[in-house]
Subunit: 302 residues, 2 copies
DNA sequence: CTGAAAGCGCTTACAG
DNA sequence: CTGAAAGCGCTTACAG
Protein backbone atom coordinates (compact mmCIF):
# COMPACT_ATOMS: atom_id res chain seq x y z
CA UNK A 1 0.00 0.00 0.00
CA UNK A 2 2.76 2.43 0.97
CA UNK A 3 4.49 1.77 -2.33
CA UNK A 4 1.44 2.60 -4.34
CA UNK A 5 1.05 5.81 -2.39
CA UNK A 6 4.63 6.75 -3.17
CA UNK A 7 4.22 5.84 -6.82
CA UNK A 8 1.17 8.02 -7.20
CA UNK A 9 3.33 10.97 -6.25
CA UNK A 10 1.25 11.65 -3.20
CA UNK A 11 2.36 14.55 -1.07
CA UNK A 12 0.86 15.60 2.22
CA UNK A 13 -0.73 19.03 2.39
CA UNK A 14 1.43 21.34 4.44
CA UNK A 15 -1.60 23.56 4.69
CA UNK A 16 -3.74 21.05 6.54
CA UNK A 17 -0.81 20.11 8.70
CA UNK A 18 -0.17 23.74 9.64
CA UNK A 19 -3.81 24.17 10.48
CA UNK A 20 -3.65 21.30 12.94
CA UNK A 21 -0.22 21.88 14.39
CA UNK A 22 -0.60 25.63 14.68
CA UNK A 23 2.81 26.03 13.15
CA UNK A 24 3.86 26.17 9.54
CA UNK A 25 7.68 26.07 9.34
CA UNK A 26 7.32 29.39 7.54
CA UNK A 27 8.79 32.74 8.47
CA UNK A 28 7.36 36.06 7.37
CA UNK A 29 9.86 38.56 5.98
CA UNK A 30 8.98 42.21 5.62
CA UNK A 31 11.45 44.18 3.54
CA UNK A 32 11.70 47.44 1.63
CA UNK A 33 14.11 49.03 -0.81
CA UNK A 34 15.46 45.80 -2.29
CA UNK A 35 17.05 47.89 -5.01
CA UNK A 36 19.47 49.20 -2.38
CA UNK A 37 22.53 47.13 -1.70
CA UNK A 38 22.01 46.79 2.06
CA UNK A 39 18.46 45.40 2.16
CA UNK A 40 19.23 43.18 -0.82
CA UNK A 41 22.26 41.62 0.87
CA UNK A 42 20.37 41.19 4.08
CA UNK A 43 17.62 39.31 2.27
CA UNK A 44 20.33 37.16 0.76
CA UNK A 45 21.55 36.14 4.18
CA UNK A 46 17.99 35.49 5.29
CA UNK A 47 17.08 33.23 2.38
CA UNK A 48 20.14 31.02 2.59
CA UNK A 49 19.92 30.60 6.35
CA UNK A 50 16.19 29.91 6.31
CA UNK A 51 16.66 27.31 3.61
CA UNK A 52 19.35 25.69 5.73
CA UNK A 53 17.19 25.54 8.85
CA UNK A 54 14.27 24.12 6.89
CA UNK A 55 12.02 27.16 6.98
CA UNK A 56 10.04 28.53 4.07
CA UNK A 57 9.78 32.27 3.60
CA UNK A 58 6.74 34.39 2.97
CA UNK A 59 8.08 37.61 1.48
CA UNK A 60 6.44 41.03 1.63
CA UNK A 61 8.03 44.10 0.12
CA UNK A 62 6.71 47.48 1.14
CA UNK A 63 6.19 49.87 -1.79
CA UNK A 64 8.19 52.54 0.05
CA UNK A 65 9.60 53.29 3.49
CA UNK A 66 6.48 54.82 4.92
CA UNK A 67 4.91 51.79 6.44
CA UNK A 68 1.45 53.30 6.75
CA UNK A 69 -1.10 50.87 8.12
CA UNK A 70 0.70 47.68 9.12
CA UNK A 71 -2.45 45.79 10.00
CA UNK A 72 -3.21 44.33 6.57
CA UNK A 73 0.42 43.34 6.20
CA UNK A 74 0.70 41.64 9.57
CA UNK A 75 -2.69 40.02 9.22
CA UNK A 76 -1.73 38.61 5.86
CA UNK A 77 1.31 36.98 7.44
CA UNK A 78 -0.38 35.88 10.64
CA UNK A 79 -3.39 34.45 8.87
CA UNK A 80 -0.96 32.23 7.02
CA UNK A 81 0.32 30.99 10.37
CA UNK A 82 3.91 32.16 10.11
CA UNK A 83 5.94 30.99 13.08
CA UNK A 84 7.76 34.31 13.37
CA UNK A 85 8.45 37.59 11.60
CA UNK A 86 11.65 39.24 10.41
CA UNK A 87 11.32 43.00 10.10
CA UNK A 88 14.02 43.89 7.58
CA UNK A 89 12.80 47.38 6.74
CA UNK A 90 15.34 50.19 7.06
CA UNK A 91 14.35 52.56 9.85
CA UNK A 92 13.44 55.79 8.06
CA UNK A 93 11.85 58.65 9.97
CA UNK A 94 9.58 57.13 12.56
CA UNK A 95 8.35 54.35 10.31
CA UNK A 96 8.59 51.91 13.17
CA UNK A 97 6.15 53.80 15.34
CA UNK A 98 3.11 52.25 13.73
CA UNK A 99 4.35 48.82 14.73
CA UNK A 100 4.74 49.71 18.37
CA UNK A 101 1.09 49.27 19.30
CA UNK A 102 0.71 45.95 17.58
CA UNK A 103 3.85 44.63 19.19
CA UNK A 104 2.56 43.65 22.65
CA UNK A 105 -0.19 41.37 21.41
CA UNK A 106 1.61 39.81 18.49
CA UNK A 107 1.07 36.05 18.77
CA UNK A 108 4.47 35.19 17.28
CA UNK A 109 8.01 36.42 17.92
CA UNK A 110 9.46 39.18 15.78
CA UNK A 111 13.09 40.17 15.17
CA UNK A 112 14.14 43.60 13.92
CA UNK A 113 17.11 44.11 11.61
CA UNK A 114 19.28 47.20 11.18
CA UNK A 115 17.37 49.15 13.73
CA UNK A 116 17.80 51.26 16.78
CA UNK A 117 18.18 49.16 19.89
CA UNK A 118 15.27 49.38 22.25
CA UNK A 119 14.76 47.65 25.55
CA UNK A 120 12.90 44.38 25.41
CA UNK A 121 12.84 44.17 21.64
CA UNK A 122 15.02 41.61 19.88
CA UNK A 123 17.26 43.36 17.39
CA UNK A 124 20.04 42.19 15.13
CA UNK A 125 22.05 45.14 13.96
CA UNK A 126 25.35 46.32 12.63
CA UNK A 127 27.12 49.07 14.51
CA UNK A 128 26.98 51.95 12.04
CA UNK A 129 28.17 54.40 14.67
CA UNK A 130 31.32 52.38 15.33
CA UNK A 131 31.79 52.11 11.58
CA UNK A 132 31.74 55.87 11.20
CA UNK A 133 34.24 56.32 13.99
CA UNK A 134 36.46 53.65 12.48
CA UNK A 135 36.44 55.31 9.06
CA UNK A 136 37.33 58.76 10.36
CA UNK A 137 39.94 57.54 12.84
CA UNK A 138 41.57 55.69 9.98
CA UNK A 139 41.81 58.88 7.95
CA UNK A 140 43.19 60.82 10.91
CA UNK A 141 45.75 58.09 11.61
CA UNK A 142 46.85 58.36 8.00
CA UNK A 143 47.68 62.01 8.49
CA UNK A 144 44.58 63.69 7.04
CA UNK A 145 43.35 66.64 9.07
CA UNK A 146 40.31 68.16 7.33
CA UNK A 147 37.80 65.37 7.10
CA UNK A 148 34.44 66.14 5.52
CA UNK A 149 31.44 63.83 5.29
CA UNK A 150 28.93 62.91 2.62
CA UNK A 151 26.03 61.34 4.45
CA UNK A 152 23.07 59.26 3.32
CA UNK A 153 19.58 60.68 3.72
CA UNK A 154 19.56 61.68 7.39
CA UNK A 155 16.03 60.38 7.84
CA UNK A 156 17.62 56.93 7.71
CA UNK A 157 18.78 55.74 11.09
CA UNK A 158 21.85 54.13 9.50
CA UNK A 159 22.84 57.37 7.80
CA UNK A 160 22.35 59.39 10.99
CA UNK A 161 24.48 56.89 12.91
CA UNK A 162 27.33 57.02 10.42
CA UNK A 163 27.28 60.80 10.59
CA UNK A 164 27.26 60.70 14.39
CA UNK A 165 30.32 58.45 14.21
CA UNK A 166 32.09 60.97 11.97
CA UNK A 167 31.34 63.75 14.45
CA UNK A 168 32.40 61.68 17.46
CA UNK A 169 35.74 60.68 15.94
CA UNK A 170 36.54 64.31 15.13
CA UNK A 171 35.48 65.39 18.59
CA UNK A 172 37.74 62.77 20.21
CA UNK A 173 40.59 64.24 18.16
CA UNK A 174 39.70 67.67 19.48
CA UNK A 175 38.23 68.86 16.20
CA UNK A 176 34.90 70.50 15.50
CA UNK A 177 32.50 68.96 13.01
CA UNK A 178 30.40 71.87 11.79
CA UNK A 179 27.32 71.09 9.73
CA UNK A 180 28.67 72.74 6.60
CA UNK A 181 31.39 70.08 6.51
CA UNK A 182 28.71 67.45 5.90
CA UNK A 183 26.54 67.28 2.78
CA UNK A 184 23.51 65.02 2.64
CA UNK A 185 23.17 62.68 -0.32
CA UNK A 186 20.53 60.15 -1.37
CA UNK A 187 22.79 57.03 -1.52
CA UNK A 188 22.96 57.30 -5.32
CA UNK A 189 26.17 57.76 -7.27
CA UNK A 190 24.89 60.97 -8.82
CA UNK A 191 24.05 62.46 -5.42
CA UNK A 192 27.62 61.71 -4.34
CA UNK A 193 28.85 63.66 -7.35
CA UNK A 194 26.70 66.67 -6.47
CA UNK A 195 27.55 66.48 -2.78
CA UNK A 196 31.27 66.53 -3.53
CA UNK A 197 30.79 69.59 -5.70
CA UNK A 198 29.03 71.34 -2.82
CA UNK A 199 31.58 70.19 -0.27
CA UNK A 200 34.41 71.75 -2.29
CA UNK A 201 32.59 75.07 -2.01
CA UNK A 202 31.61 74.83 1.66
CA UNK A 203 34.86 73.33 2.90
CA UNK A 204 37.60 74.53 0.53
CA UNK A 205 40.61 73.21 2.47
CA UNK A 206 39.15 69.72 2.82
CA UNK A 207 41.72 66.91 2.44
CA UNK A 208 39.65 63.78 3.07
CA UNK A 209 36.05 62.59 2.88
CA UNK A 210 34.22 59.85 4.69
CA UNK A 211 31.35 58.88 2.36
CA UNK A 212 28.40 56.96 3.79
CA UNK A 213 28.30 54.42 0.97
CA UNK A 214 30.55 53.21 -1.83
CA UNK A 215 28.24 54.31 -4.61
CA UNK A 216 28.28 57.94 -3.50
CA UNK A 217 32.03 57.63 -3.03
CA UNK A 218 32.29 56.65 -6.69
CA UNK A 219 30.39 59.76 -7.72
CA UNK A 220 32.48 61.93 -5.40
CA UNK A 221 35.75 60.54 -6.79
CA UNK A 222 34.44 61.10 -10.30
CA UNK A 223 33.93 64.76 -9.49
CA UNK A 224 37.37 64.97 -7.89
CA UNK A 225 38.93 63.51 -11.04
CA UNK A 226 37.04 65.98 -13.22
CA UNK A 227 38.42 68.84 -11.13
CA UNK A 228 41.93 67.54 -11.59
CA UNK A 229 42.25 66.58 -7.93
CA UNK A 230 44.48 63.60 -7.31
CA UNK A 231 43.21 60.84 -5.01
CA UNK A 232 44.53 60.43 -2.37
CA UNK A 233 47.25 63.08 -2.69
CA UNK A 234 44.80 66.00 -2.77
CA UNK A 235 41.76 64.26 -1.40
CA UNK A 236 41.49 60.90 0.39
CA UNK A 237 38.33 58.78 0.53
CA UNK A 238 36.76 56.16 2.73
CA UNK A 239 33.47 54.58 1.68
CA UNK A 240 30.99 52.26 3.36
CA UNK A 241 29.35 48.94 2.33
CA UNK A 242 32.28 47.25 0.65
CA UNK A 243 30.62 46.49 -2.65
CA UNK A 244 32.88 44.19 -4.67
CA UNK A 245 33.38 46.81 -7.38
CA UNK A 246 35.00 49.23 -4.95
CA UNK A 247 38.26 47.29 -5.13
CA UNK A 248 38.44 48.39 -8.78
CA UNK A 249 37.53 52.03 -8.52
CA UNK A 250 40.26 54.43 -9.63
CA UNK A 251 41.89 54.37 -7.20
CA UNK A 252 40.67 51.36 -5.26
CA UNK A 253 38.47 52.50 -2.40
CA UNK A 254 39.09 52.06 1.31
CA UNK A 255 35.75 51.05 2.77
CA UNK A 256 33.86 49.55 5.71
CA UNK A 257 32.25 46.12 5.42
CA UNK A 258 29.05 46.05 7.49
CA UNK A 259 28.46 42.31 6.94
CA UNK A 260 24.80 42.75 6.06
CA UNK A 261 24.65 39.24 4.70
CA UNK A 262 25.66 37.85 8.05
CA UNK A 263 23.13 40.11 9.73
CA UNK A 264 20.40 38.39 7.74
CA UNK A 265 21.50 34.93 8.72
CA UNK A 266 22.00 35.87 12.38
CA UNK A 267 18.48 37.27 12.42
CA UNK A 268 17.06 33.97 11.19
CA UNK A 269 18.97 32.16 13.92
CA UNK A 270 17.72 34.59 16.52
CA UNK A 271 14.12 34.23 15.37
CA UNK A 272 14.29 30.45 15.41
CA UNK A 273 15.67 30.63 18.95
CA UNK A 274 12.72 32.76 19.99
CA UNK A 275 10.29 30.38 18.31
CA UNK A 276 11.75 27.61 20.47
CA UNK A 277 11.20 29.84 23.52
CA UNK A 278 14.87 30.40 24.09
CA UNK A 279 16.20 33.66 25.46
CA UNK A 280 16.91 36.41 22.94
CA UNK A 281 20.50 37.53 22.56
CA UNK A 282 21.49 41.06 21.67
CA UNK A 283 23.42 40.76 18.44
CA UNK A 284 25.49 43.72 17.30
CA UNK A 285 27.88 42.98 14.47
CA UNK A 286 31.17 44.83 14.23
CA UNK A 287 31.94 46.44 10.91
CA UNK A 288 35.33 45.81 9.37
CA UNK A 289 37.76 48.30 7.85
CA UNK A 290 39.18 47.39 4.44
CA UNK A 291 42.18 49.50 3.57
CA UNK A 292 42.95 50.30 -0.07
CA UNK A 293 44.64 52.99 -2.13
CA UNK A 294 42.17 55.85 -1.68
CA UNK A 295 43.49 56.50 1.84
CA UNK A 296 47.23 55.89 1.57
CA UNK A 297 49.27 57.44 4.38
CA UNK A 298 49.76 61.09 3.69
CA UNK A 299 53.46 61.15 4.56
CA UNK A 300 54.39 58.62 1.89
CA UNK A 301 52.70 60.82 -0.69
CA UNK A 302 54.66 63.98 0.03
CA UNK B 1 -22.02 41.37 17.11
CA UNK B 2 -20.00 42.32 14.04
CA UNK B 3 -18.51 45.25 15.93
CA UNK B 4 -17.34 43.10 18.78
CA UNK B 5 -15.74 40.74 16.31
CA UNK B 6 -13.88 43.64 14.71
CA UNK B 7 -12.84 45.00 18.10
CA UNK B 8 -11.42 41.71 19.19
CA UNK B 9 -8.99 41.97 16.31
CA UNK B 10 -10.35 38.82 14.73
CA UNK B 11 -8.78 37.82 11.46
CA UNK B 12 -9.86 34.94 9.29
CA UNK B 13 -7.35 32.17 8.74
CA UNK B 14 -6.06 32.34 5.22
CA UNK B 15 -4.87 28.79 5.74
CA UNK B 16 -8.32 27.33 6.30
CA UNK B 17 -9.67 29.40 3.45
CA UNK B 18 -6.99 28.14 1.08
CA UNK B 19 -7.70 24.59 2.13
CA UNK B 20 -11.35 24.99 1.17
CA UNK B 21 -10.97 27.11 -1.93
CA UNK B 22 -8.04 25.17 -3.34
CA UNK B 23 -6.29 28.42 -3.99
CA UNK B 24 -4.13 30.56 -1.78
CA UNK B 25 -3.40 33.87 -3.55
CA UNK B 26 0.23 32.88 -3.16
CA UNK B 27 2.85 32.43 -5.86
CA UNK B 28 5.94 30.28 -5.46
CA UNK B 29 9.20 31.88 -6.54
CA UNK B 30 12.31 29.79 -7.13
CA UNK B 31 15.47 31.81 -7.48
CA UNK B 32 19.24 31.40 -7.30
CA UNK B 33 22.26 33.68 -7.20
CA UNK B 34 20.54 36.63 -5.55
CA UNK B 35 23.98 38.12 -5.00
CA UNK B 36 24.19 38.67 -8.76
CA UNK B 37 22.68 41.83 -10.10
CA UNK B 38 20.38 40.18 -12.65
CA UNK B 39 18.50 37.72 -10.42
CA UNK B 40 18.27 40.33 -7.68
CA UNK B 41 16.68 42.89 -9.98
CA UNK B 42 14.32 40.32 -11.37
CA UNK B 43 13.18 39.42 -7.87
CA UNK B 44 12.63 43.11 -7.31
CA UNK B 45 10.26 43.32 -10.23
CA UNK B 46 8.49 40.19 -9.04
CA UNK B 47 7.90 41.41 -5.49
CA UNK B 48 6.49 44.79 -6.42
CA UNK B 49 4.20 43.42 -9.10
CA UNK B 50 2.95 40.57 -6.90
CA UNK B 51 2.21 43.00 -4.10
CA UNK B 52 0.27 45.14 -6.55
CA UNK B 53 -1.83 42.27 -7.82
CA UNK B 54 -2.58 41.08 -4.29
CA UNK B 55 -0.48 37.94 -4.31
CA UNK B 56 1.79 36.79 -1.53
CA UNK B 57 5.12 35.22 -2.37
CA UNK B 58 6.66 32.04 -1.09
CA UNK B 59 10.37 32.40 -1.78
CA UNK B 60 12.87 29.59 -2.29
CA UNK B 61 16.51 30.23 -3.03
CA UNK B 62 18.60 27.38 -4.38
CA UNK B 63 21.98 27.02 -2.71
CA UNK B 64 23.66 26.95 -6.12
CA UNK B 65 22.81 26.60 -9.78
CA UNK B 66 22.79 22.85 -9.85
CA UNK B 67 19.17 22.22 -9.16
CA UNK B 68 19.64 18.59 -8.18
CA UNK B 69 16.43 16.93 -7.06
CA UNK B 70 13.58 19.38 -7.61
CA UNK B 71 10.95 17.17 -6.01
CA UNK B 72 11.34 18.38 -2.41
CA UNK B 73 11.36 21.94 -3.64
CA UNK B 74 8.27 21.64 -5.78
CA UNK B 75 6.46 19.58 -3.18
CA UNK B 76 7.16 22.17 -0.55
CA UNK B 77 5.55 24.82 -2.75
CA UNK B 78 2.69 22.68 -3.99
CA UNK B 79 1.83 21.37 -0.55
CA UNK B 80 1.35 24.98 0.45
CA UNK B 81 -1.16 25.35 -2.37
CA UNK B 82 0.63 27.98 -4.42
CA UNK B 83 -1.50 29.07 -7.36
CA UNK B 84 1.49 29.15 -9.71
CA UNK B 85 5.26 29.05 -9.85
CA UNK B 86 7.86 31.50 -11.15
CA UNK B 87 11.12 29.81 -12.11
CA UNK B 88 13.64 32.65 -11.84
CA UNK B 89 16.78 30.51 -11.83
CA UNK B 90 19.46 31.40 -14.38
CA UNK B 91 19.85 28.60 -16.89
CA UNK B 92 23.30 27.17 -16.21
CA UNK B 93 24.44 23.99 -17.91
CA UNK B 94 21.42 21.75 -18.24
CA UNK B 95 20.01 22.65 -14.85
CA UNK B 96 16.55 22.82 -16.32
CA UNK B 97 16.58 19.20 -17.46
CA UNK B 98 15.53 17.87 -14.09
CA UNK B 99 12.37 19.92 -14.26
CA UNK B 100 11.33 18.59 -17.61
CA UNK B 101 9.81 15.35 -16.34
CA UNK B 102 7.83 17.00 -13.59
CA UNK B 103 6.48 19.59 -15.98
CA UNK B 104 3.67 17.65 -17.66
CA UNK B 105 1.85 16.69 -14.47
CA UNK B 106 2.36 19.90 -12.54
CA UNK B 107 -1.04 20.87 -11.13
CA UNK B 108 -0.37 24.62 -11.40
CA UNK B 109 0.99 26.88 -14.14
CA UNK B 110 4.68 27.74 -14.22
CA UNK B 111 6.49 30.60 -15.95
CA UNK B 112 10.20 30.57 -16.75
CA UNK B 113 12.35 33.68 -16.64
CA UNK B 114 15.59 34.41 -18.51
CA UNK B 115 15.55 31.11 -20.25
CA UNK B 116 15.85 29.50 -23.61
CA UNK B 117 12.57 29.55 -25.48
CA UNK B 118 11.01 26.15 -25.93
CA UNK B 119 7.80 25.23 -27.63
CA UNK B 120 4.78 25.05 -25.38
CA UNK B 121 6.51 26.43 -22.32
CA UNK B 122 5.66 29.93 -21.14
CA UNK B 123 8.80 32.00 -20.98
CA UNK B 124 9.49 35.63 -20.20
CA UNK B 125 12.93 36.54 -21.37
CA UNK B 126 15.22 39.33 -22.43
CA UNK B 127 16.90 39.02 -25.81
CA UNK B 128 20.55 38.63 -24.84
CA UNK B 129 21.50 37.69 -28.38
CA UNK B 130 20.04 40.91 -29.78
CA UNK B 131 21.81 42.79 -26.99
CA UNK B 132 25.15 41.35 -28.02
CA UNK B 133 24.59 42.26 -31.64
CA UNK B 134 23.51 45.75 -30.63
CA UNK B 135 26.65 46.30 -28.56
CA UNK B 136 29.05 45.18 -31.27
CA UNK B 137 27.25 46.97 -34.10
CA UNK B 138 27.44 50.13 -32.03
CA UNK B 139 31.21 49.76 -31.72
CA UNK B 140 31.58 49.07 -35.43
CA UNK B 141 29.41 52.06 -36.31
CA UNK B 142 31.68 54.20 -34.15
CA UNK B 143 34.64 53.24 -36.27
CA UNK B 144 36.23 50.50 -34.17
CA UNK B 145 37.47 47.53 -36.16
CA UNK B 146 39.04 44.99 -33.82
CA UNK B 147 36.35 44.09 -31.34
CA UNK B 148 37.17 41.53 -28.67
CA UNK B 149 34.81 40.04 -26.14
CA UNK B 150 34.93 39.26 -22.44
CA UNK B 151 32.14 36.80 -21.82
CA UNK B 152 30.42 35.57 -18.69
CA UNK B 153 30.75 31.90 -17.72
CA UNK B 154 29.72 30.16 -20.93
CA UNK B 155 27.75 27.56 -19.00
CA UNK B 156 25.23 30.33 -18.48
CA UNK B 157 22.72 30.56 -21.28
CA UNK B 158 22.73 34.38 -21.02
CA UNK B 159 26.51 34.51 -21.38
CA UNK B 160 26.48 32.13 -24.34
CA UNK B 161 23.81 34.23 -26.04
CA UNK B 162 25.71 37.48 -25.59
CA UNK B 163 28.79 35.85 -27.05
CA UNK B 164 26.77 34.49 -29.99
CA UNK B 165 25.54 38.03 -30.58
CA UNK B 166 29.13 39.31 -30.66
CA UNK B 167 30.06 36.65 -33.21
CA UNK B 168 26.99 37.28 -35.34
CA UNK B 169 27.53 41.03 -35.51
CA UNK B 170 31.14 40.53 -36.60
CA UNK B 171 30.11 37.97 -39.14
CA UNK B 172 27.50 40.32 -40.62
CA UNK B 173 30.29 42.88 -41.00
CA UNK B 174 32.34 40.26 -42.82
CA UNK B 175 34.74 39.73 -39.94
CA UNK B 176 35.88 36.54 -38.29
CA UNK B 177 35.39 36.03 -34.56
CA UNK B 178 38.06 33.54 -33.57
CA UNK B 179 37.90 32.03 -30.11
CA UNK B 180 41.12 33.63 -28.93
CA UNK B 181 39.44 37.01 -29.31
CA UNK B 182 37.05 36.04 -26.52
CA UNK B 183 38.08 35.42 -22.92
CA UNK B 184 35.69 33.85 -20.45
CA UNK B 185 35.16 35.59 -17.10
CA UNK B 186 33.09 34.76 -14.04
CA UNK B 187 30.96 37.97 -13.95
CA UNK B 188 33.15 39.39 -11.17
CA UNK B 189 35.12 42.61 -11.46
CA UNK B 190 38.37 40.79 -10.73
CA UNK B 191 37.74 38.27 -13.50
CA UNK B 192 37.23 41.19 -15.90
CA UNK B 193 40.61 42.51 -14.90
CA UNK B 194 42.31 39.17 -15.56
CA UNK B 195 40.41 38.62 -18.80
CA UNK B 196 41.53 42.00 -20.14
CA UNK B 197 45.13 41.14 -19.30
CA UNK B 198 44.80 37.91 -21.27
CA UNK B 199 43.01 39.59 -24.15
CA UNK B 200 45.87 42.07 -24.59
CA UNK B 201 48.19 39.09 -25.07
CA UNK B 202 45.94 37.03 -27.34
CA UNK B 203 44.64 39.94 -29.43
CA UNK B 204 47.36 42.62 -29.43
CA UNK B 205 45.83 44.98 -31.98
CA UNK B 206 42.42 45.04 -30.26
CA UNK B 207 40.75 48.45 -30.28
CA UNK B 208 37.41 47.75 -28.58
CA UNK B 209 35.84 45.28 -26.17
CA UNK B 210 32.29 44.19 -25.65
CA UNK B 211 32.12 43.02 -22.03
CA UNK B 212 29.24 40.80 -20.93
CA UNK B 213 28.52 42.77 -17.77
CA UNK B 214 29.35 46.16 -16.29
CA UNK B 215 31.26 44.78 -13.34
CA UNK B 216 33.74 42.95 -15.54
CA UNK B 217 33.94 46.06 -17.70
CA UNK B 218 35.03 47.99 -14.63
CA UNK B 219 37.81 45.50 -13.98
CA UNK B 220 38.84 45.55 -17.63
CA UNK B 221 38.99 49.35 -17.73
CA UNK B 222 41.00 49.30 -14.50
CA UNK B 223 43.57 47.10 -16.20
CA UNK B 224 43.59 49.32 -19.27
CA UNK B 225 44.23 52.37 -17.08
CA UNK B 226 47.08 50.57 -15.32
CA UNK B 227 48.67 49.82 -18.68
CA UNK B 228 48.46 53.47 -19.67
CA UNK B 229 45.86 52.80 -22.33
CA UNK B 230 43.43 55.64 -22.88
CA UNK B 231 39.72 54.86 -23.03
CA UNK B 232 38.25 55.17 -25.59
CA UNK B 233 41.17 56.51 -27.69
CA UNK B 234 43.20 53.30 -27.46
CA UNK B 235 40.47 50.95 -26.34
CA UNK B 236 36.69 51.43 -26.39
CA UNK B 237 34.26 49.59 -24.11
CA UNK B 238 30.64 48.54 -24.08
CA UNK B 239 29.24 46.78 -21.01
CA UNK B 240 25.97 45.02 -20.22
CA UNK B 241 23.41 45.37 -17.39
CA UNK B 242 23.39 49.13 -16.96
CA UNK B 243 24.12 49.22 -13.26
CA UNK B 244 23.63 52.79 -12.00
CA UNK B 245 27.31 53.13 -11.07
CA UNK B 246 28.40 52.63 -14.67
CA UNK B 247 27.46 56.23 -15.49
CA UNK B 248 30.27 57.26 -13.14
CA UNK B 249 33.04 54.93 -14.21
CA UNK B 250 36.12 56.65 -15.60
CA UNK B 251 35.15 57.18 -18.31
CA UNK B 252 31.40 56.65 -18.11
CA UNK B 253 30.48 53.31 -19.63
CA UNK B 254 28.34 52.66 -22.69
CA UNK B 255 26.14 49.73 -21.77
CA UNK B 256 23.03 47.68 -22.54
CA UNK B 257 20.00 47.83 -20.25
CA UNK B 258 18.29 44.42 -20.22
CA UNK B 259 15.31 45.62 -18.13
CA UNK B 260 15.45 42.70 -15.73
CA UNK B 261 13.17 44.48 -13.33
CA UNK B 262 10.49 44.68 -15.96
CA UNK B 263 11.06 41.04 -16.79
CA UNK B 264 10.12 40.16 -13.24
CA UNK B 265 6.91 42.13 -13.31
CA UNK B 266 5.93 40.83 -16.76
CA UNK B 267 6.44 37.30 -15.49
CA UNK B 268 4.02 37.89 -12.63
CA UNK B 269 1.46 39.23 -15.10
CA UNK B 270 1.96 36.25 -17.36
CA UNK B 271 1.57 33.80 -14.48
CA UNK B 272 -1.59 35.46 -13.24
CA UNK B 273 -3.00 35.26 -16.77
CA UNK B 274 -2.27 31.54 -16.85
CA UNK B 275 -3.87 31.07 -13.44
CA UNK B 276 -7.02 32.64 -14.88
CA UNK B 277 -6.82 30.16 -17.76
CA UNK B 278 -5.95 32.81 -20.31
CA UNK B 279 -3.67 32.10 -23.23
CA UNK B 280 0.07 32.51 -22.61
CA UNK B 281 1.87 35.21 -24.56
CA UNK B 282 5.47 34.94 -25.63
CA UNK B 283 7.23 37.85 -23.99
CA UNK B 284 10.68 38.80 -25.23
CA UNK B 285 11.95 42.14 -23.97
CA UNK B 286 14.23 44.24 -26.13
CA UNK B 287 17.41 45.45 -24.50
CA UNK B 288 18.28 49.11 -24.80
CA UNK B 289 21.61 50.69 -25.74
CA UNK B 290 22.84 53.49 -23.48
CA UNK B 291 25.62 55.47 -25.10
CA UNK B 292 28.28 57.11 -22.94
CA UNK B 293 31.91 58.19 -23.16
CA UNK B 294 33.62 54.80 -23.29
CA UNK B 295 32.63 54.38 -26.94
CA UNK B 296 32.95 57.86 -28.42
CA UNK B 297 33.18 57.90 -32.23
CA UNK B 298 36.69 57.09 -33.25
CA UNK B 299 36.97 59.84 -35.83
CA UNK B 300 36.37 62.62 -33.32
CA UNK B 301 39.24 61.28 -31.25
CA UNK B 302 41.90 61.38 -33.94
C1' DC C 1 -0.45 -2.02 18.51
C1' DT C 2 -4.16 -0.83 15.20
C1' DG C 3 -8.22 1.84 13.58
C1' DA C 4 -12.07 4.93 13.74
C1' DA C 5 -13.47 9.43 15.50
C1' DA C 6 -12.91 14.18 16.60
C1' DG C 7 -11.27 18.60 15.38
C1' DC C 8 -7.98 22.63 13.23
C1' DG C 9 -11.02 27.14 11.01
C1' DC C 10 -12.95 28.07 7.43
C1' DT C 11 -16.64 27.92 2.91
C1' DT C 12 -20.27 26.07 0.38
C1' DA C 13 -24.41 23.85 -0.70
C1' DC C 14 -28.53 22.59 1.28
C1' DA C 15 -32.57 22.33 4.29
C1' DG C 16 -35.98 25.03 6.93
C1' DC D 1 -33.26 35.01 3.83
C1' DT D 2 -31.22 32.56 7.84
C1' DG D 3 -28.87 28.64 10.12
C1' DA D 4 -27.05 24.11 10.76
C1' DA D 5 -24.44 20.50 8.44
C1' DA D 6 -20.88 18.68 5.57
C1' DG D 7 -16.22 18.75 4.15
C1' DC D 8 -11.15 20.72 2.69
C1' DG D 9 -6.76 17.16 4.34
C1' DC D 10 -4.53 16.46 7.76
C1' DT D 11 -3.04 15.06 13.20
C1' DT D 12 -3.96 13.65 17.70
C1' DA D 13 -6.05 11.48 21.45
C1' DC D 14 -8.85 7.78 22.46
C1' DA D 15 -11.32 3.40 22.29
C1' DG D 16 -10.95 -1.52 20.98
Amino acid sequence: VQEIIADMGYQPSALARSLIQQRSATLGVVTAGLNYIGPSRTLNGITSQAEELGYSLLLKELPGFDVGDVDPLLNSLLSRQVDGILWAVPEVGDNRRCLEERLPDLPVPIVFLTQRQRPGIPVVTVDNYAGGIMAVQHLLSRGYRKVGHISGPLEWWDAAQRKAGWREALSRAGQAAPDQHCIEGTWSTSSGYRAMQQLCVDFPDIDAVFVANDQMALGAMYYAAQQGLRVPQDLAFVGFDSIPESAYFSPSLTTINPHQNQMGSEAVHQLVRLIHNEEPEVIVLDPELIVRDSSEPRETLM
